[in-house]
């Protein structure tokens, strides 16, 4: 038997995904697009929150890439509102990755505006993959409970902006705001946290102001 030789590699397994994410990000920036990677659990109200945000964008054009394991219910609802939306079905995969986004953005023909990329409903895998976005928006809810930062630290650590949705339901659930915020701040000292309700419309003006401010940079 021949002698074994060890060859040093030291290469990240994410390299290809990250490289494509960088290229996509540069291309989107060139086109005047501000891309928001929207993450949250199934049922957190990602699509409902996006509708509230998009209603308040004024003369800024919104685009949406809807990521779902299957079906296109959200896409059809958004298209019915006149929003340029494209569907990506991952057929079982639990997150979007960067090659998918470049193609979808081209197909949508995005130009000058905000592109919301609604990731698969999942608090684990979407946080690990750069997909060409400028910022990550995490939508949490009072109904999921206040321990989420402790259970899914990476999603909270990587978020650029955090929404706590379903705030109108606070009187009916045991959501401990102090405990939640303690976890958020340990992981992420700087991301702004907004209390919102896609049902009652509260809190979204502030979210939109934050987006507009970041858009200018």
């Amino acid at each position: 038997m021949s002698e074994t030789k060890e060859v040093e590699v030291m290469q990240s397994v994410y390299d290809k995904n990250d490289e494509i994410a960088k290229q996509t990000n540069a291309r989107l920036t060139e086109k005047g697009i501000f891309a928001v990677n929207v993450m949250g659990s199934p049922g957190a109200g990602k699509t409902s929150s996006l509708v509230k945000i998009m209603e308040k964008l004024g003369d800024i054009t919104p685009y949406v890439i809807e990521g779902d394991i299957e079906a296109d219910i959200d896409t059809k609802a958004l298209q019915a509102l006149g929003i340029k939306t494209i569907q990506i079905n991952t057929n079982g995969a639990c997150h979007l990755d960067s090659p998918l986004i470049g193609e979808a953005a081209d197909a949508l023909d995005v130009q000058n505006g905000v592109l919301f990329i609604e990731n698969i409903g999942n608090l684990v895998c979407p946080a690990e993959f750069e997909i060409g976005e400028h910022v990550k928006m995490l939508i949490s809810t009072v109904t999921e409970g206040s321990d989420k930062p402790y259970k899914y630290p990476l999603a909270f650590e990587k978020a650029s902006i955090i929404l706590i949705n379903k705030w109108d339901l606070l009187p009916y659930v045991d959501f401990d705001e102090e405990y939640f915020m303690k976890g958020v701040r340990a992981l992420n000292p700087s991301a702004p946290v907004f209390k919102v309700s896609a049902k009652s419309d509260e809190g979204f003006e502030e979210v939109v102001s934050w987006i507009k401010e970041n858009l200018k940079q």
Partner: protein, 115 residues
């Protein structure tokens, strides 16, 4: 089509290993030494499970996958100590200060191959 979370990443591990094997004129890869942080979200045993199937037609088909796991560590903002967190806490076990996330535990790379 396999759309499992671990599939594209296992494929990438094989591609990287093959690339380095070819550069070194090796006919096969005997072992792949992989470093996986527990926060990378990849279950080492799942990578292992599908490795055999995905590596079938590659230089890695007989390779042993050696996975070195790394436990995530926080850094205390008060005393600077690195520590492993306890469930539902970010508190430093030494001084009680608050820990902040570090890059330790997010590793995911091919360290070396044996050819």
């Amino acid at each position: 089509m396999i759309t499992l979370h671990e599939y594209p990443i296992t494929k990438r591990i094989i591609e990287i290993s093959e690339e380095f094997a070819r550069e070194n004129h090796a006919e096969e890869v005997k072992q792949i030494n992989l470093v996986v942080g527990d926060y990378s979200g990849y279950v080492a045993s799942s990578i292992d499970l599908y490795f055999g199937i995905i590596a079938e037609d590659s230089l890695c088909k007989n390779a042993v996958l050696n996975i070195e796991r790394v436990k995530p560590k926080l850094k205390c903002t008060v005393c600077g100590e690195f520590f492993e967190r306890r469930p539902f806490s970010f508190e430093c076990p030494d001084c009680g200060g608050e820990g902040r996330p570090t890059e330790i535990g997010k590793e995911f790379y091919v360290k070396s191959i044996e050819i």
